[in-house]
């Protein structure tokens, strides 16, 4: 990569009365990209978004947008569109007046502004003739108005704070596709906050996974899924997310499971392959959809079926194994033999993490 990125965030810090909400955040976003900030509740996603919008002052660090340092620019000079989780539509203004608000602030002339309002409303799939007040709209419509209002000003950056969280499951699925389409049509660089990993995987070019005020990993969705940097990410990404199995190396070839049971896997999953010394405590991440179920064979992980959930097309089988409960995803047609089964992890290099730091252990071949 040459030249500096479109949005460049460096060492952004923020504390609330001594409680650290953001530690040294660095993030680069390319022009026209759709990036998600993904993380559990309270990890600092909204705080970072507010800082980007200029509504909150960081304790340190700087933000550059399009080569310009905007760290100390007040929000009304930033030209950054922001969509709040609760939409924050102005209740005393009509829908059109809401969308026109930013254009009035720019001092745009009336006919041009009205045209832009029509365009923006059409772009989010709303009837431009809508003459009602925000309070009379459904949640989904309000959300569209909020987006139309934010894109009407042709922002340099569009920030979405959990834009889908107030919608029901069906609508959420539909709107997330629309959001991505809208992004592709307008080309506006977009950052979306979410704590729903499926939403992030489905819409984003890149995902920044956050936890405890830090960015743990910043990757394209597939890379994040295939090579999570920490056990936390492995246990967070995927539907359902990966099973985290605590184990410690007994010797070069076998693992001791949580309940003391010994497991001798195939060579590629053995401690030696991962370069783990005897006695080291590790976590192995096993994807529910990558586990094969059988009754006999080399290197199987013995387990006992405790529950089966039918989820349409697939079944989720809950298996008690070595003191840990795992979830396995199998197709609904697959027959399940007896309660006692063997689980076979995929042959590739394992997703193995250090139990203390949570960091990925890379085999050094």
């Amino acid at each position: 990569m040459t030249g500096s990125p479109y949005l460049r965030i460096r060492s952004i810090k923020k504390s609330y009365k001594g409680a650290v909400a953001l530690h040294d955040i660095d993030l680069d976003v390319e022009q026209g990209a759709f990036v998600s900030l993904l993380g559990p509740s309270g990890c600092g996603k909204s705080t970072l978004l507010q800082i980007l919008a200029g509504l909150l002052e960081a304790d340190g660090g700087d933000v550059q947008l399009g080569g310009e340092d905007i760290t100390n620019l007040p929000p009304w000079r930033r030209n950054i569109g922001l969509v709040f989780q609760n939409y924050a539509l102005f209740p005393h203004l009509s829908i059109r007046q809401n969308v026109r608000f930013g254009l009035d602030m720019l001092g745009m002339d009336r006919t041009e502004a009205e045209k832009r309002v029509d365009e923006s409303l059409a772009m989010v799939g709303l009837d431009p003739a809508l003459s009602r007040k925000p309070g009379e709209l459904s949640g989904g419509q309000q959300q569209r108005v909020a987006i139309a209002r934010a894109i009407a000003i042709r922002p340099r950056l569009l920030l979405l704070d959990e834009p889908l969280s107030n919608l029901d499951a069906v609508l959420r699925h539909k709107v997330r596709l629309e959001l991505r389409e809208l992004h592709d049509r307008t080309g506006i660089t977009t950052i979306m906050v979410t704590h729903d990993q499926a939403e992030a995987l489905a819409t984003s070019d890149r995902i920044a996974v956050m936890n405890g005020g830090r960015i743990l990993q910043y990757e394209a969705p597939e890379a994040l899924y295939r090579a999570p940097a920490t056990a936390f990410i492995a246990g967070f990404v995927g539907s359902p997310p990966a099973n985290l199995v605590p184990l410690s190396a007994l010797d070069n070839n076998s693992w001791t499971l949580a309940n003391g049971q010994v497991w001798k896997p195939i060579a590629s999953l053995a401690p030696r392959a991962a370069g783990v010394r005897a006695g080291a405590a590790c976590i192995m991440a096993l994807r529910p959809e990558a586990l094969a179920v059988g009754v006999s064979g080399e290197g199987g992980l013995p387990g006992r079926v405790v529950a089966i959930e039918f989820i349409g097309g697939d079944r989720l089988v809950h298996v008690e194994t070595g003191g840990t409960q795992l979830t396995v995803r199998v197709s609904a047609e697959q027959a399940m033999a007896g309660p006692d089964i063997l689980l076979f992890p995929p042959q590739e290099t394992p997703l193995l993490f250090d139990a203390n730091s949570g960091k990925r252990l890379k085999a050094d071949f």
């Binding site: 509504l55 929000p75 009304w76 569109g81 924050a88 102005f90 608000f101 602030m105 209002r149």
Partner: protein, 263 residues
Amino acid sequence: MTSRFSKGLMLAGVIAILLFLLAPILVLIFSAFDGGNVFRFPPRSYSLRWFEEALTHTEYRSSLWVSTVLGIISTAIAVGLSSLAAFGLVRGKPSYRLGLEVLLLAPLTLPLVVWAIALLSIYAQLGINGTLPGLILAHVTITMPFAARIMIATFDEIDPRLEAAAKSLGASPWHVVRRITLPLAMPGLMSSTAIAFLVSFNDVVVTTLIAGAGWITFPVRTFSRLRTEGIDPTTIAIAAMIVAFTIVVIVLGQRLFQLSRRF
């Protein structure tokens, strides 16, 4: 059937309550048109003489004028100050918010007479007893708690994210106040203005003690005449005119308000 019955019962209840509330006003208005020399109800002969009397009576006219001017000035000051204070308390969220809120309500916790005596001794020290500034200050003091209470509740109800959203759409702080905060606070401002004006206009106790003989407000004059001469029908006529004026203002306000909502 039952629902019809209960609806009828409810209607009867509403009418009873309205009658209870409105009866004194009706009595007042009817009596104002009475031709007799003393207050009577029901009226026995009709005449407009007390209205004529009221309009030509210089003492009442000057008192009404004093009350109105005093009410307008002290309401403007009280609503202005308490709006600023309430906005600061609600948006700034200082750690002493609760303490200050209690302090703002303090005048409500003491009997007005005690409060008036305290003000009297302070104003005597300052040498502003019996002056208009002293009287205005006293009225601001007694109306502030009401105005502040309403304004704090008003700003508490306005979602700060609306202001943040406006800022992100390019609105400077001045535009945020003018286009978002003020319009949303308007109902609260209206009611706090109305309440403050009424509290000021109705006050007898504090005004009697602070104003001395220099500035006699309408209720003070009425009250003193009541004690020396009994009920004066002129007062009744003036009261009837105040009621009529209030109704006109409310109807106009409603009309304008609805019109403003339509656009």
